[in-house]
């Protein structure tokens, strides 16, 4: 055997391909070349050792004639018996050495027909590679025997084969974070790559599908095949990584213009392949899992009048309704966000076919925020937003998003395109680690945080303008269009504008320097904003790539959050409104001495309302306002300060069966107290009996005027039912005399229960304590209460603290 064509032959294939870009020819030539070489080597070196009882088969990519220039050549040496294989050992070695010396990377296996027709859970690749087997040379009768058995074997073992194949595919997808939007993808392995195309073909084959792959899928295969051919020819090895350099090389060689722009084509094809792969996987897994089928049937009961769930997918019940009711699309995504099902192919296609009409409809300013708010607050919100993005509905509602679609911004740390990064931030928000998860539970409107994440990087798609400024500008337009209410808009804009602030502080400021913390606290203004921005920061950093949010960095962010949180709570007492810029004298007199938090957390309109209450309070010494909020009630009162005031109002609310969720108590310089209680009405008493709200108001006013004793009211209060001992949250009481210049900070964390606040506040007041400032919050069953307390105008001494601690622990039920 004189001619060893492989390396020379490869050189010419490489040259021709780089000149023509014709991958089909390159692949055909390479296959023919390898066929020739293997046949020749087998005929002279291998078959003489076993003239019968041995057949040489091409398997895997080589078997299906899709051998890329530098791919491994998979061969199966089929022996009729193990003894014959052992006897042919030397000949096999010579045969393989010859192929290796011809610069061919051979990956071989030696099997008997019986081994080829067993399920190999530990060697799934062997079973799979046989789906693409092709006879090359040797004992034709031996091969014919196998070829006859294979279809039966495959049919009989479809279940385990599909399961194994799906397991491999899912693990591969997970390795690439389940997305094809990688900045430097691997064209073979990344989701949406050639391996996924093959997966679809294999699953079709296992199911005995009649029709071939769709034209769209075939076009994607041709595109990816050409890319892989380029990567092999360019680097002269089995290289499948589409690096930035390779992207530049292709854009230049194929005159595609800007590489980033060209990459958008890649993502479009990868998307077709990935979607087909996911659909095929879901369908196959569902078909072969009986347990899954039971679960699926059970889950399908969540179907409603508009949507049906079948095989874990959502379908429209009356698809044509979408033509007349465009907002049905939003209801569909709300359904997805609520139940966590993906869209059916039909639903996707229906929406995609109506996308122009949807765009036109959503382009008009409309009150869409209530629906979006709902979608973004539900547990499967990230899945819904992803589905909206994939069907084009997200861009129909927010055309601003088109600027970042498949947008590549080259950065050493970033792994995804800008749109994918955005979707990953939203996913991250719903799978936070402990601590951060509590913050999300405490944030009033997660939907506003989600909205801020959606828009935080949109400005990256605007050339020539600062990305943050552009994001803010684009978000503003979008918020007006969907008619988001003003306070939410303000919060969202704050989060977008400051989304880099905390990470910059972590990188460039000393987190243990009190000045750093004061500066950050000043920028955050309120604890609520700090919490929301901490969440945005966590979600944003961890969406850069899966390794960026190291435990070290998560701890840094948490440390920053803690320090700023404590600073903001301290500020409550120390930072008082002193210089009011301008305004009527009565307004100045009203505001003077309130904590600065008051100005930050109330709108002008609310301040006016509070002043009107003050006006009223002059006659009766106290004025009370009760109103219904979206999901709770609020009681606001203005009165002259006196001992037990806070405790008596808390007690009055409890006596009416109300459950206090939040409370704030502030006093101004003139000794006027403004208390706000947010409470829930578990038995809907106020809603169902309008006169009850009036009675509650009148009773509170009487209690404030000293005409009714709150203890009398509470005498008939039913005993609260406490959770089991195991589920209880142990009560903790802590004191901090450093936090404020004039008062002692008392923080109580305890199991929440009706009347808890009354008991705690009474314990403080009975002990001669004066409550200066209060901030109460509840989180599921946990109450977090912060009181600033003085006794006779001074901080609490150690003995006083000890007595009070015991009283508070008793009140909290510890």
């Amino acid at each position: 055997m004189e001619n060893r064509p492989s390396s020379d032959g490869l050189a010419s294939i490489r040259r021709d391909f780089l000149a023509s870009g014709d991958a089909a020819t390159a692949l055909a030539e390479r296959n023919a070349q390898v066929d020739r070489l293997v046949l020749e080597a087998a005929t002279t070196l291998l078959l003489p050792a076993a003239p019968t009882g041995l057949a040489v088969l091409a398997v895997g990519g080589y078997g299906r004639r899709q051998l890329f220039p530098y791919s491994d050549v998979d061969l199966l040496l089929l022996f009729e018996s193990e003894d014959l294989a052992v006897a042919s050992k030397d000949a096999i070695a010579v045969f393989l050495r010859y192929l290796w010396d011809s610069s061919m990377r051979v990956s071989h296996s030696v099997r008997t027909p019986a081994e080829c027709t067993e399920v190999h859970d530990r060697n799934i690749e062997l079973n799979i590679s046989l789906l693409d087997q092709r006879y090359l040379t040797g004992d034709r009768a031996l091969y014919a025997g196998l070829a006859e058995k294979l279809p039966r074997f495959i049919h009989g073992n479809r279940g385990p084969l599909v399961r194994n194949l799906a397991q491999l595919a899912r693990a591969r997808h997970a390795k690439y974070a389940g997305t094809f939007y990688h900045l430097e993808p691997n064209v073979k392995e990344t989701p949406g790559g050639l391996r996924d195309h093959q997966l679809v073909c294999w699953l079709d084959q296992l199911h005995g599908a009649q029709e071939g792959p769709s034209e769209e899928l075939e076009a994607a295969f041709r595109f990816l095949g050409r890319l892989r051919c380029y990567l092999h020819c360019q680097s002269g090895r089995d290289n499948n990584a589409l690096s930035f350099e390779a992207q530049d090389g292709i854009a230049e060689l194929w005159r595609e213009g800007d590489a980033a722009q060209w990459m958008r084509q890649y993502y479009r094809h990868a998307r077709v392949v990935y979607r087909a792969a996911i659909r095929a996987l879901d369908a196959s897994e569902a078909q072969f899992s009986s347990l899954f089928a039971q679960f699926r049937d059970w889950r399908s009961r969540v179907s409603n009048a508009d949507f049906a769930v079948h095989r874990e997918r959502v379908h429209f019940r009356a698809p044509q309704r979408l033509d007349v009711e465009p907002e049905l699309a939003l209801s569909l995504f709300e359904f997805v966000a609520r139940h966590g099902f993906r869209l059916s192919l039909e639903a996707e296609q229906r929406i995609e076919s109506r996308i122009a009409a949807l765009r036109a409809y959503f382009a008009e300013p409309r009150p869409l925020w209530p629906a979006l708010n709902q979608i973004l607050s539900l547990p499967h919100a990230p899945l819904a937003v992803r589905a909206m993005h994939e069907t084009g509905v997200l861009a129909a509602i927010f055309p601003e998003m088109e600027r970042i679609e498949c947008l590549v911004i080259r950065d050493f740390y970033h792994r995804y395109t800008v749109d994918e990064h955005t979707l990953v931030t939203m996913q991250n928000l719903w799978k936070l680690p402990n601590g951060y998860r509590d913050l999300l539970a405490e944030v009033k409107q997660p939907s506003v945080v989600m909205f801020a994440l959606l828009f935080h990087d949109v400005g990256k798609g605007v050339p020539g303008e600062g990305p943050v400024d552009a994001s803010v500008r684009l978000a503003q337009g979008a918020m007006v269009r969907v008619q988001m209410p003003w306070p939410d808009r303000e919060t969202a804009l704050f989060l977008i504008r400051k989304h880099l602030e905390l990470s910059q502080v972590m990188q460039s400021r000393d987190l243990f320097d009190p000045q750093t913390i004061r500066d950050v606290a000043h920028q955050m203004e309120t604890v609520e904003r700090l919490k929301a921005l901490t969440l945005v920061t966590y979600a944003d950093i961890s969406a850069v790539n899966p390794e960026v949010m190291t435990p070290w960095r998560a701890e840094q962010l948490w440390q920053l959050y803690l320090a700023v949180y404590n600073e903001l709570t301290r500020e409550l007492e120390t930072e008082r409104i002193e210089a009011i810029p301008a305004g009527p004298p009565e307004r100045i007199a009203f505001l003077e001495g309130f904590p600065t938090r008051y100005l930050r957390t109330h709108t002008e309109q609310e301040i006016d309302e509070h002043m009107a209450l003050e006006e009223k309070s002059r006659i009766k010494k106290a004025a009370v306002d009760i109103r219904k909020l979206e999901s709770a009630w609020q009681l606001t009162l203005v009165a002259a300060d006196r001992p037990f005031l806070f405790a008596s109002v808390a007690g009055t609310l409890s006596s009416f069966g109300m459950n206090i969720l939040k409370a704030e108590a502030f006093a101004n310089r003139r000794g006027l107290v403004l208390d706000t209680f947010t409470f829930e009405d578990p038995s809907r008493t106020l809603e169902l009996n309008p006169t009850e709200a009036d009675r509650l108001r009148a009773t509170t006013e009487r209690v404030l005027a000293g005409k009714t004793d709150v203890r009398e009211l509470l005498r008939n209060r039913p005993k609260p039912v406490l959770p089991s001992r195991k589920a209880r949250i142990p009560a903790t009481v802590s004191f901090d005399s450093e936090a404020s210049r004039t008062a002692t900070l008392v923080e109580i964390v305890a199991e929440d229960r009706p009347g808890l606040l009354y008991d705690l506040a009474s314990a403080i007041s009975s002990d001669g304590g004066n409550i200066e400032v209060v901030l109460i919050d509840t989180q599921a069953h946990k109450a977090i209460d912060v009181f600033y307390v003085t006794a006779e105008g001074k901080k609490l001494g150690p003995e006083k603290q000890q007595v009070l601690a015991a009283a508070l622990r008793k009140a909290a039920g510890a």
Binding site: Q507, R509, D510, F512, R553, L562, T732, V749
Partner: protein, 112 residues
């Protein structure tokens, strides 16, 4: 050749990297570490629970430079990493016996 190992404040990393780049030192290994020396831990109370930060976050830089340049590197490093407060960190210098570039087997200073 000298190996320079510097434990610095995390917020000084960018400044130190810039200073080293300024004198032509690009290659270094950076790790996120925790530790404490004279700068003792710190206590925060949050929701009634004490959070003790005994191990403070620091950044460790490691680089190997020709002995002739070691003083210059140390000077740039200390100047950039210093705030004058406790907790600025420490630098350790070691002698290095050999350096090898794995790719082409370069040895000694030419491998740096």
């Amino acid at each position: 050749m000298k190996k320079i190992e510097a434990i610095i404040q995390p917020f000084k990393l960018d400044e130190v990297k810039e200073a080293l780049k300024g004198i032509g030192i690009d290659g270094m290994t950076i790790s996120e570490v925790r530790g404490h020396g004279r700068q003792k831990g710190h206590k925060e109370v949050y929701r009634g629970q004490e959070y003790n930060v005994d191990l403070l976050p620091k950044v460790k830089l490691e680089m190997v430079v020709p002995s002739s340049r070691s003083e210059e590197v140390l000077k740039a490093l200390t100047a950039a990493a210093r705030t004058g407060k406790i907790g600025d960190g420490k630098i350790f210098v070691y002698d290095v016996a050999e350096a090898i570039r794995i790719r082409n087997d370069d040895r000694g200073e030419s491998a740096l």
